[in-house]
């Protein structure tokens, strides 16, 4: 049905360097915004369908900084996977392959912006300056990964698919109600979710709300091609960024393995939101290189050649290639980054292993801000019960 394709289309410059969507279905996949090719070639700028020019103007230091982020984020992720394999985490949801989508969007956030992650946004969390240990309690099972979202401008992880997009929208409505849009210091909100999540009622209701209230927010969909075992075709028959057209706000597809393009597109959308221009949907076209989580076995549902094809589009390799070509760093730099990443990983590991187990009776804490007599009674009874074992062989 050709009509569906007449939605908002991202038409970047027709440079030969910019490829079509890597997983072109029937050859009519739309173009995506790309500023750095898999080979490490810089595309100077891309003009979006509404005339927005997407480009970046980073200093050498900043390019190196992005590279550092990418490497460290991947390393910490690998360390968490290793910790899980060794039984130190109950489960881990790896971001392998999605580093550019996360670092690009994470670095595009301004300090005043608020993010609502899923369970996989370890890279965004890192860019927010949050100690990577913070969510690990959830995966180790010593707590549920709780923190104060307002302190870090980063909400807690959300596991129920799509639920956080409504939270983000409500928060963004609050931003408007507080009069915090309209200028460069305006606040914007970003909601992360996956390709699978786009099927959930909640996500579509968030689109409705965001449109109606012109909410200052960015819907950032990491299309990593899979929802556990289900390929994209189980969720949509057209490119996901086009969903936005149905709700009256712009959608755009960006190469999610390109940290520069992701940065540029996210920054533009956030700035548009903070200036009161309303929501944008960004589809970051990327790939989940690993398993869905450490509990998953992707060999049951996808073939090695597909993974290999994506390997060639690695988000880190292309930045390194670019840096090398531009000669803005030497071998020492790369060695130093690797060493820093290694140190941070070791540090993370040590601190994970040192995480204290929770005390049994903390079970009853924080069910209600104002407490509950029922829980008090249960806690008391439980304490007496535990005491009854004391000194016994039990």
């Amino acid at each position: 049905m050709a009509k569906g394709d007449r939605g908002t289309t991202t038409r970047g410059r027709q440079t030969t360097a910019r490829p079509r969507g890597p997983k072109a279905a029937g050859g009519n996949e739309p173009e995506l915004v790309q500023l750095l090719t898999p080979e490490g070639e810089r595309v100077e700028k891309v003009t979006g369908p509404d005339g927005t020019e997407y480009t970046v103007d980073f200093t050498d230091e900043e390019y190196r900084g992005l590279y550092r982020d990418l490497v460290i984020v991947r390393k910490l992720d690998a360390e968490a996977t290793a910790l899980q394999r060794q039984g130190e985490l109950g489960i881990w949801a790896s971001l392998l392959g999605q580093e550019a989508a996360q670092v690009g969007s994470g670095r595009a956030l301004r300090p005043q912006d608020m993010a609502f992650p899923t369970y996989r946004e370890h890279g965004v969390l890192y860019c927010r300056g949050i100690d990577p240990i913070m969510p690990l309690g959830l995966f180790r099972g010593v707590d549920q990964g709780g923190w104060d979202p307002n302190e870090f401008k980063f909400n807690m992880y959300t596991i129920v698919i799509g639920a956080q997009t409504l939270h983000a929208t409500g928060y963004a409505m609050g931003v408007t109600m507080d009069g915090k849009t309209g200028g460069d210091d305006g606040e914007a909100v970003i909601a992360y979710f996956g390709d699978g999540a786009t099927s959930q009622g909640d996500v579509n209701e968030a689109f409705v709300w965001a449109g109606v209230f012109n909410a200052p927010m960015v819907f950032f969909c990491q299309n990593n091609q899979y929802a556990i075992s289900e390929p994209l075709e189980r969720q949509t028959r057209i490119p996901l960024y086009q969903r936005a057209a149905g709700f009256g706000f712009p959608g755009i597809r960006v190469d999610g393995n390109d940290v520069l393009a992701t940065y540029a597109v996210t920054r533009a959308a956030l700035d548009s939101a903070r200036h009161g221009q309303g929501p944008t949907l960004i589809e970051a076209y990327t790939y989940r290189m690993g398993a869905h989580t450490t509990s998953d076995d992707p060999t049951r549902y996808r073939i090695a050649s597909e993974v290999e094809a994506w390997q060639a589009k690695d988000p880190i390799a292309r930045v390194r290639a670019f840096i090398e070509k531009q000669q803005i760093a030497d071998a020492d730099f790369f060695a130093e980054i690797d060493e820093q990443a290694r140190r941070e990983a070791v540090d993370l590991r040590e601190r994970v292993l040192a995480m204290p187990d929770p005390q049994p009776d903390t079970l009853f804490d924080h069910v209600y801000p104002n407490g509950s007599p029922l829980l008090d009674a249960q806690r008391d009874q439980f304490s007496r019960y535990l005491e009854s074992f004391e000194g016994s062989a039990h």
Binding site: D148, E151, V160, D202, W209
Partner: protein, 329 residues
Amino acid sequence: MATETLTLGKALNTGLRRALENDPKVVIMGEDVGKLGGVFRITDGLQKDFGENRVIDTPLAESGIIGTAVGLAIRGYRPVCEIQFDGFVYPAYDQIVSQVAKMHYRSRGKVKLPIVIRIPFGGGIGAVEHHSESPEAYFAHTAGLKVVSCASPQDAYWMIQQAIASDDPIVFMEPKRRYWEKGPVELDAPLTGAYPLHSARVVRPGSDATVLAYGPMVRTALDAATAAAEDGRDLEVIDLRSLSPLDLGVVYESVRRTGRCVVVHEAPSNLGLGAEVAARITEECFYSLESPVLRVTGFDTPYPAARLEEEYLPDLDRVLDAVDRAFGW
């Protein structure tokens, strides 16, 4: 002290108005709560006086109402969400039980969600299906939520304000068929002096048997007590008020005196509030009970067509029948 005679609906409306006045962070949101003032007019006039940012007509989607309320609460607001009818709360169920109920716990106390979810509930108004449900047990079974129900205009006025002032997420069940019943309301009494939100209350002292009710059934229980008095039986009626947590101290005290207890609600019997109340009373008053706690409830059918609701709903006669059975045990 200004005491006015108000309907329960108007008392809620006045309580909401006070809450909007007292705290700029309070916002009301829901379907048709603006110009229309809600299908029951509980928010009548509020948008006009407080504006569209304080009283928000939302898109028609209950999950969206609660989900965005969570975000607003994280931002520091105190959302009061209206669900139009009991039977329309279920699309929001996931947001309520998985998000609203759990976020404080998940965050080890760092996130507070002072959200009030107002639900007009129960039958007796001759409505079509989905408009007469009693879903309170679903919420009372959900750890992390509190559930209350008001039964008189005075309680309506105070309890809605107390619920909004509380940092706990509270499901506020409004006895829709009592919206038009009138009673005295002390409008100027300070909230701090009001009867505590999560406390049951003896609304008619008696000595022969204890009748427990909440929301719309309190009136029914009181009517039954009046009728029983004519037959020489002195029933104590307790309004449970807080459905979760239950406040059963006063109930135990009563049952230990009377030895007999009947619990009344519109919701189906199976796993209704009466089950919990009966189980706990039995545990606490085991040696005082002359008969088991008996339940007078809706039947375990979907809510029936309007012309059958008189049969479905507990009424004075069914309450008295249960009292008789308790005495005949």
